[in-house]
């Protein structure tokens, strides 16, 4: 069913009784051309683009929980392409372009809101680093502006200019950055994929990967039985090491928990996405009025979707330090997501040494914004067996070759990227 204002009025007149499911609940077929493990943003968008752009529709997406139960449903919804390195900028910019046309493309309003992402600098060194980044973006045709303190004071008068421990000196603004409604992304891609014949199978957990004598992947064992496939694509985010291990593969990834928070609904006060450079705090306000924010990870390995009070407090300390006016607001809910922190902080979209096995992983806390491009490039890789040119650097063997894409410059310690 096509969604529009017309369909809403028409359905309303018939008591909203005739709406149909956004996606089917099929039983798995014995065999698919492509099986995608993981019904998160990346798995669903991969299925969508495979069907829509590359003509492959005999696909199953297997999700162990409900679709969107992973990180796509628990992130702080920030989208941007303000990266520094050659391996990342073109990829994230491609993603941002796809976001810009997404609603029309999949006929679902995911509320892409290009309200601007502001990254604040609190020292000369940091300002120089942002200048370097802004110039790198500009070189690639990506929008970037460097604002000084005065301009910031006009744009965001509520920030802490006068009593800051770390003064606000400048800000790197990407106006085209912003937020997207997280759940709608999963649902929109799911609906779009389902309409094109993709089987979305929820509550179907992959427990093992079956390989033939040559070592080629032939299918997966699940709680719903064996399902065969020609190609197997892993898009399991924080669980990547677990699923890759089923094929005997060890990854440059450690799993960590990141918390996120939402405040009570309040009237609009924060118009942009703001990132605090003296800490790690980032914040935006949802269309319902909740301030959505987060900061550092909890630093220890965790597969539990919940975090620690010390990190909660630390987040609020940074928040109130940056925006003193938050103090009398109230935090409503905290949750966590488990993330695939990679060894250089950048993702992997690649074939693996194992035939028929494709990998999409290592998104750390930045993979939501990548959802469209990740799906598109992964679909490209699966369909054509070669990397899309914007994802050509995101290779699994880059560490062995010494071509790390280390945006933070922190080296091989995943929890500090």
């Amino acid at each position: 069913m096509r969604y529009s204002a017309y369909s809403i009025i028409k359905q309303a007149l018939s008591g909203n009784r005739l709406w149909t499911p956004a996606w089917r609940e099929p039983e798995p077929k014995p065999h698919y051309d492509v099986i995608i493990v993981g019904g998160g943003g990346h798995g669903l968008s991969t299925a969508y683009y495979l069907a829509k752009e590359f003509g492959i529709t005999n696909i199953a997406v297997l999700e162990k929980g409900y679709i969107g139960s992973g990180n796509v449903g628990r992130n702080t919804t920030i989208i941007r392409s303000n990266y520094l390195l050659e391996g990342n900028i073109p990829f994230y910019e491609f993603s941002l372009k796809l976001w810009e046309g997404l609603e029309q493309d999949f006929n679902y309003n995911a509320m892409v809101s290009q309200r601007g992402v502001m990254m604040l600098a609190h020292s000369d060194g940091q300002r120089d680093a942002y200048a370097r980044r802004g110039n790198a973006m500009r070189m690639h045709g990506v929008d970037a502006e460097l604002l000084d303190r005065k301009q910031l004071q006009t744009l965001m008068p509520y920030l802490n200019y006068d009593h800051a421990r770390f003064p606000i000196l400048a800000g790197l603004l990407q106006k085209r950055g912003g937020t997207v409604r997280h759940d709608a992304v999963a649902w929109g891609y799911a609906r779009g994929a389902d309409m094109r014949g993709v089987d979305i199978i929820q509550h179907c957990e992959v427990n093992a990967i079956r390989r033939d004598e040559q070592g080629r992947v032939t299918g997966v064992e699940t709680n719903k039985g064996f399902i065969g496939c020609n190609k197997l694509a892993l898009a399991t985010a924080g669980h990547s090491s677990e699923t890759a291990r089923m094929a005997g593969l060890e990854l440059p990834i450690e799993t960590h928990v990141l918390q996120a928070f939402v405040s009570e609904g309040i009237k609009p006060v924060v118009d942009h996405v703001i990132v605090y450079g003296a800490g790690h705090f980032y914040i935006s306000q949802s269309d319902k009025g909740g301030l959505v924010f987060g900061a550092d990870i909890d630093y220890y390995s965790s597969y539990a979707q919940r975090g620690n009070l010390a990190t909660v407090e630390h987040t609020m300390e940074e928040g109130v330090s940056l925006i003193p006016g938050l103090s009398r607001g109230k935090v409503l809910r905290a949750w966590g997501g488990v993330m695939d922190m990679s060894m250089d902080g950048s993702p992997i979209i690649d074939r693996t040494p194992i035939d028929n096995l494709y990998l999409n992983a290592g998104w750390c806390y930045g993979g939501f914004k990548a959802t469209p491009a990740s799906g598109f490039c992964f679909a490209h890789l699966i369909a054509k067996n070669e990397s899309h040119h914007v994802s050509r650097f995101l290779r699994l063997d880059r560490f062995e070759r010494g071509h790390m894409i280390d945006e933070a410059g922190k080296g091989p310690q995943p929890n500090i990227h």
Binding site: S241, L251, P252, E254, Y300, Y303, A310, P414
Partner: protein
């Protein structure tokens, strides 16, 4: 775990006193193969469940500890000084 860690030297302390480094791996012999070095520096078993991890008691005794824990339930099974970890009977 993640709220309180019992340091074998200092007693029970809040997470804030520690910094965390990742899997408690042994550093390979300097002469082993490229592949082994790559594995040590970049590849991680990253199991879901029982896990040994380096924690540094930065605000306490400044000893590196190995925290043996479950990364799903967050139960802690034991905390040992890293210098003696895995060296029993050495």
């Amino acid at each position: 775990m993640a709220s309180l860690i019992t340091c074998p030297h200092c007693g029970t302390r809040p997470k804030e006193e520690f910094s965390i480094r990742g899997t408690a791996l042994g550093r390979p012999h300097p002469a082993v193969s490229e592949e082994d070095w790559h594995r040590y520096v970049y590849l991680r078993d990253n199991p879901k469940g029982r896990y040994q991890e380096y924690w540094h008691h930065a605000a306490g005794c400044r000893r590196w500890l190995v925290v043996d824990r479950d990364n799903v339930t967050h139960d802690v099974f034991g905390v040992t000084d890293a210098a003696t970890f895995g060296r029993v009977g050495e």
